[in-house]
Symmetry: C2
Subunit: 554 residues, 2 copies
């Protein structure tokens, strides 16, 4: 059996100009990065304004388990399958963060016969977007400390600076630092720290911006600190937004690559799915919609977090509306939800599938609440038995949803044609998309609405300080959506509570304002914004082989 | 009068594939980055092995003054002029660091009609090489702290870690930090700090590596710390060299751009000229030599630092030998060396030129000591008078060297044809290049040799600790050349001592081992490895205009 990387290296890639030509873009309309990657030019995107939009398909999943669900793999397979059945389909996925690849064995975009290439580049520097985000973020940080150093005309309270620095690296030693040490020439000593680049608000902004002007407007609104009088200090106050926009100019252009079956893939942006919204960029999604009949995209984590944020944050802000949703599930993951240990997943256990299907059912009900046509994609594993598959299918059918076997991992697009046909059928039906809550609802009520209607919490717990903070923001920022930061492993804040818990208390420990991105983050539990390396990091084994290929990255 | 950026934007750029074709490289042999930048592929470079090498021309200068000498401008102008007189010439210069452009008004590669384009890209992310250096450097840093966190099997002394982190940003607050705070999950608290990326030893390594294998060998040898027993700890001990090489794989390929006159320019690498050797990459220089009749390159700062290091470090290591040297001087800079204040430079002062020419004379004598044919390029300014130019010309003639008027700033290559012809004449003469000192000389004696023979110091001052440190390195590293870190403004360590001081004491305050780059750094005075932003940083004014051009960067 070939590994993912062996399959990726054997790919019969077409020149990227040829992939662009299939989208109707000429050689002058792309900015090539090597022969297999390109950015789509600003001129091309500006020229698409009047075109009709294709149909948007969201791929989401049940709560993730160590068994693996294959959400990205399904996104790729479905895109290829749609092309196979005669639709012009483009997939839109996120870029990978470089840092974590040097920690755990990671990488890849999709798997098996359903991958995006060039895989090595995509897991390394790619087209430099994340480096640009790092630079823009850290320029703002340097300008804050520089402003204080030169007299602090804005009277920034050094104890109330919330803007940290970022690095695309797993580096736990940078989580908490004291900087500005070494005497007056080195600025003012204060506590701060580093997050990983994907946790930067700049990344979320890049992914929500509609164009360069909107990008700069959002950067301008970033709140970095409070003055001693309590006044918010913004990037605009520091005159940083222009230079940050310059650093992000190229990064805003979507990246074009291809699937193993030479279909177009836009891979652009990669905000965290916890403290940010976890979707690829609005500009990539919109561009793809104007160039394709179908656009298949995915959201981070499970549907409780990823789909809810995709719909209530990205679609709300960008005026997008999916016409079908694919909910990815596996027999193995349902068995884990039904109480089976990972080591025992190979053995048939139909009852466990039935017990675990409660998780699937809950997600189906939630997605139905958004008024969206839905199909369950059963991502096939070799150990799945017919009885287990039947149990899964029955659980979906009980909710009026078809569950369709998919073998794209083994077969590529040919293994997902049934799914593609069902997606086309669903997308042709009248749709009734509705957001979960209106802009006008208070921030607190938005949190309670998500917690009780999506997670099925009994109530939300928050300290008086959290309630007070939300009340303070209500006047100026009350119209913003809420971005929930919660464990992806459970509907609750307890990662061990699998299945479909309900009536629990959801603790909101902290709230943060992302005024530039345009949401308020509600943090339920511990969220790690700077990972560490493990005892034996993958970096120990990563190297070039004699042929110049990367070993150990995957 | 058009500004540099207006001229650059009006450039009639040719597609980069066309520039590559002029070097005999086909479309498959370059990795394009947009339509006006490309990397030369590893396959092309590997295939050049057997080709004869063209002639190497070094452009250096008298000691820099605020009046400006125009070394890069002359390098570009000479390259264009050589092409105009029928030689196939390529220029090789360094890449710009991103960070400082957001501090002082900066940027540019050359000036006037002698520039390399695309100027905006070259002063921003360009092809991402510096970001790759940053990533590789910081991965090693993260692996050091990670190693200590997980039990410290190598018994690294946290107080004796010399490997800092880097960022391509002017950020004084990061010069001295305490990291690893916040409890056991965040590693071990210790003092450290950040340098700017160009100060990274990884940058020096990238620029001295002959190929990927040599790159990894050098990375492997980096000494990052001492164990508690005093044993050096290397990147190899941490198993970091393979992953660092992977991160640098693309960055090792030279970048191809073009001059305003559509001649090829390789712009690659950018190590500091103080704590590193300050030259473009060996791989770019060698590649250009195999593709051209003439290669014009420059070294950092004045000839006392830049040319000495170019010859004794880069040429020694890479087996290169220049066949002619161009020493750039201006009437204005000689007047400053003769005691005239910057504000008074526009007024004629022939005596000041004669007094200041002592600086020019010293550099001529030094370069003659290397056995190199030499010409003085007088970079013309509008305020220069005939009498002043005569005084300069006489000073050069007294040393047997021609001084040639150059007007490439105003006229492009046409303004440097006389210089080009003299360079061709010199390069056709038998050359007698000799290094200043042999590998076998002790480290201390190498320092003394440079100080007394090039700088004309009376003696070298060093503490017993410095002498002891050099003695300790002698056995394992005594064969390495020495990289002097000294003010560029004077032959001495006192930046105010213009002209040609002699007999002074040169203080060596500190020595550092760069075992991967392959030199020992001798630091004479304060060297800043992380700049700060000024009170009103350029970033305040940098922005995109309505047409998407960058304003305020230049």
């Amino acid at each position: 059996m070939l590994t993912d990387i062996e399959i990726a290296r054997a790919a019969a890639k077409r020149p990227i100009a040829e992939i662009a030509a299939r989208l109707g873009i000429g050689a002058e309309g792309i900015l090539p990065y090597g022969h297999d990657k390109a950015k789509i030019s600003p001129e091309v995107i500006a020229g698409l304004g009047g075109r009709p939009m294709g149909r948007l398909v969201l791929v989401t999943a049940i709560n993730p388990t160590p068994a693996g669900e294959g959400k990205t793999t399904t996104t790729v397979g479905l895109g290829d399958a749609l092309n196979r059945i005669g639709q012009r389909a483009t997939i839109c996925i996120r870029e990978a963060s470089l840092g974590p690849n040097f920690g755990m064995k990671g990488g890849a975009a999709g798997g098996g016969r359903a991958q995006v290439v060039p895989m090595e580049d995509m897991n390394l520097h790619f087209t430099g977007d994340f480096h640009a985000v790092t630079s823009a973020h850290n320029l703002l940080a340097a300008m804050i400390d520089n402003h204080i150093h030169w007299g602090n005309a804005l009277d920034i309270d050094p104890r109330r600076i919330t803007w940290r620095r970022v690095m695309d690296m797993n580096d736990r030693a940078l989580r908490d630092v004291v900087l500005g040490l070494g005497g007056p020439a080195n600025g003012v000593p204060r506590e701060s720290g580093f997050d990983i680049t994907v946790a930067s608000e700049v990344m979320a902004i890049l992914c929500l911006a509609g164009d360069l002007a909107d990008l700069q407007d959002r950067l301008r609104r970033i709140v970095v600190a409070r003055s001693r009088a309590g006044r918010p200090v913004t990037a605009r106050d520091l005159h940083a937004d222009g230079a940050m926009t310059v650093l992000l100019r190229d990064a805003l252009q979507p990246n074009l690559v291809q699937t193993l079956e030479n279909n177009p893939a836009l891979v652009h942006g990669g905000p965290f799915a916890n403290i940010a919204h976890g979707c690829n960029s609005v500009i990539a999604t919109r561009t793809a919609l104007r160039l394709s009949d179908y656009v298949v995209t995915e959201a981070g984590f499970g549907a409780d977090l990823g789909a809810e944020k995709f719909l209530d944050i990205k679609c709300r802000k960008a005026g997008l509306a999916p016409e079908a949703v694919v909910l990815v599930a596996t027999v193995r993951a349902l068995k884990m939800n039904g109480g089976v240990a990972k080591a025992d997943l190979a053995a048939e256990d139909v009852d466990a599938v039935r017990r675990g299907a409660i998780n699937l059912t809950r997600h189906i009900q939630n997605l139905r609440g958004f008024g969206l046509p839905l199909v369950v994609a059963v991502n096939h594993f070799a150990t799945d038995t017919e009885a287990e598959i039947d149990a899964l299918t029955e659980a979906a059918a009980a909710e009026g949803v078809r569950a369709i076997q998919c073998r794209h991992w083994a077969m590529g697009g040919a293994g997902a044609e049934d799914l593609a046909r069902e997606v086309v059928r669903l997308a042709g039906q009248p749709s009734d998309f509705r957001l979960l809550y209106p802009d006008s609802m208070t921030l607190w009520d938005k949190i309670v609405t998500i917690a009780t209607r999506i997670y099925r919490a009994g109530h939300v717990e928050a300290s008086p300080a959290v309630r007070q903070q939300l009340a303070e923001w209500q006047a100026d920022h009350g119209h913003l959506p809420v971005c929930m930061a919660k464990t992806p492993y459970s509907f609750s804040a307890d990662p061990a509570a699998l299945g479909a818990p309900e009536g629990f208390a959801l603790p909101v420990r902290e709230v943060r304002l992302a005024a530039g991105a345009g949401f308020v983050v509600a943090i339920c539990g511990d969220i790690m914004t700077m990972p560490g390396l493990p005892r034996e990091p993958a970096a120990n084994r990563i190297r070039l082989d004699a042929a110049g290929n990367v070993e150990g990255l995957f």
